[in-house]
């Protein structure tokens, strides 16, 4: 066979009379891979025999870096832990700091945080749903959803000054109040997003190709999902009513009605449908939040924030992100900088553990779809 210079064949791992096993690096260069992450797949034909996750290509040492920065400075790093859904990180970190400080933030700040979280969820779901479409080769879905995601980013830009990394939360609240007329635009956007749902249903969920490709893929039972650290929509897709917003209410969620619907089935199709259900509910939650948005301060006066000193102690704070439970375990030794920040990302259990079980025997074409259905996002594995 002719190979141009610099190209290599796959490594042959072993061989017997019937078949040979090859090593395939399914990494960032693969169009179905979500970022800088990789699986080394041992292949027999197109079937996977064994998988070795290859993390570390995006490792930025955030947990170490956060120990060397002031409490507030860390907020410029934190959204980068999850690119499509950055705000849960900011909120979780701020909540942990506030818990150690023992302060209660103003009610309006809690509402604004919730609004921002839901918007971030919508943006991330659009990327996630689009990602499922993309992994299946349905690129129009992806492009159409990116348009709507951009409209959400426009609103983020008007509120926070940044499109992708908002750096909007600080210990004590948020950095700026909501500008005039912004909530009206937000409600308009909610209407538009809701009106788009039928189109997406037609494109994705009623599409027989999607249904057949996703149905039965990556099945996980409720009991197994619960005890292997699966959270968020993936867990709800098994019929488990678990949602951090309801179980451990934070921000304004104790005052807001959340009517999560559950899909059932525990497979990739159920997970995709669950995301769509959650999306619809998030739009409604935003409407409720805007309606109940109270007046008052948008932040608590904590003094000079760049000289914030947090008393000795530790706290774990978690947030329901679009992919599941995002948590920050923050330890302070009473100084100007955190002693340790430990991040719980939602992608680790599926991406690093379930992959061993699920990918075995799977066809190579399904790997990207499986990853998209579990919303495995490398930046929170590689912090």
């Amino acid at each position: 066979m002719y190979l141009p210079d610099g190209y290599t064949t796959l490594d042959k791992i072993s061989e017997n009379d019937d078949y040979a096993v090859y090593d395939l690096f399914f990494g960032p260069n693969h169009p179905g891979m979500h970022g800088n992450f990789g699986y080394v797949l041992d292949m027999v034909g197109t079937e996977i025999l064994r998988v070795r996750p290859n993390a570390g290509q995006l490792h930025r040492g955030f947990e170490k870096a956060m120990e060397n920065k002031l409490w507030a400075q860390n907020l410029s790093l934190i959204p980068r832990v999850c690119v499509p859904d950055p705000d849960p990180n900011e909120v979780a970190y701020c909540q942990a700091v506030e818990a150690i400080l023992g302060v209660e933030i103003p009610r309006r700040a809690r509402y604004i945080r919730s609004i921002v979280l839901e918007m971030s969820r919508l943006g991330s779901f659009l990327m996630g749903m689009g990602g499922v479409g993309g992994a299946l080769g349905h690129y129009s879905t992806m492009y159409l959803m990116m348009i709507d995601r951009d409209l959400i980013l426009d609103l983020f830009e008007a509120l926070t000054g940044g499109r992708v990394y908002h750096i909007y939360n600080i210990p004590g609240g948020v950095r700026r109040d909501i500008p005039d007329g912004w909530t009206d635009k937000l409600l308009e956007l909610c209407d538009r997003l809701e009106s788009k749902l039928p189109e997406w249903d037609r494109l994705l969920y009623e599409n027989p190709v999607v249904q057949d490709r996703l149905g039965g893929l990556g099945y996980i039972s409720a009991e197994e999902a619960m005890s292997s650290g699966i959270t968020g929509p993936s867990l709800r897709a098994c019929g488990v009513k678990a949602d951090v917003r309801i179980d451990t209410p934070y921000a304004a969620y104790d005052e807001i009605e959340i009517n999560s619907k559950l899909s059932e089935g525990g497979d990739a199709l159920a997970r995709a449908v669950q995301v769509r259900l959650d999306f619809e509910e998030a739009v409604n939650i935003i409407r409720r939040l805007v309606k109940q948005l109270p007046d008052g301060d948008y932040k608590l006066d904590l003094g000079n924030i760049s000289k914030l000193r947090v008393p000795k102690g530790d706290a774990y704070s978690k947030v329901e992100a679009s992919k599941g439970e995002f948590g920050y375990y923050v330890v302070s030794d009473g100084g100007l900088k955190p002693y340790r920040v430990s991040v719980r990302g939602p992608s680790m259990p599926a991406g690093m553990y379930l992959c061993h079980k699920h990918l075995r025997g799977m066809k190579i074409d399904d790997v990207a779809v499986w990853m998209a259905s579990f919303a495995i996002c490398p930046p929170d594995i590689d912090r």
């Binding site: 570390g56 650290g229 706290a315 690093m352």
Partner: protein, 180 residues
Amino acid sequence: MSDNILARAGKMHGDKIECREKYKAQLEIKTHRDYVLNLLTWLKSERYVHLSFMSCIDWIEENEFELVWHVFSYESKNHILVKTRLNREKPWMHTAINIWPHVQPYEQEIHEMFGVYFPGNPDLSGLFLHNWLDLPPLRKDFIAKDYSLALYTTDALGLTPPFDDIDIVEITAEESRDGE
């Protein structure tokens, strides 16, 4: 939704554990290394089925590592931090993969980042770092700045300055810290 877990834990495990309520729905149980697995098994049987993740803290002044298991119950909605301390000189901990198999990558990560050894964990190979020869990087005695100042010099990278007339000033670790 309280399930009185602390009271029951106290009754069940007596003086082997030390527990308190930290915040609303956030509890803390401290125990000895050899008792952790018993405690985790008991907690799981008490429907604390969700092991959220594991973290490790380097208390360098006390010469100890602290391991924290974060467990959560979907029924009582309590979050429990199970903590234990390890000697920093020879840190090792029984693996918990028989209770929660997905703890494997967390232990692997802690092994890589702190050098805590988990006998019984089938794969403690490097996860994130490639060709790493230095101290485990999340240890407090690993100073990231010194590391990069030592590594990213033109000499260490085998580079020669491209232009003769550019002065390359190399800052030593001490100088750079003085400047802070």
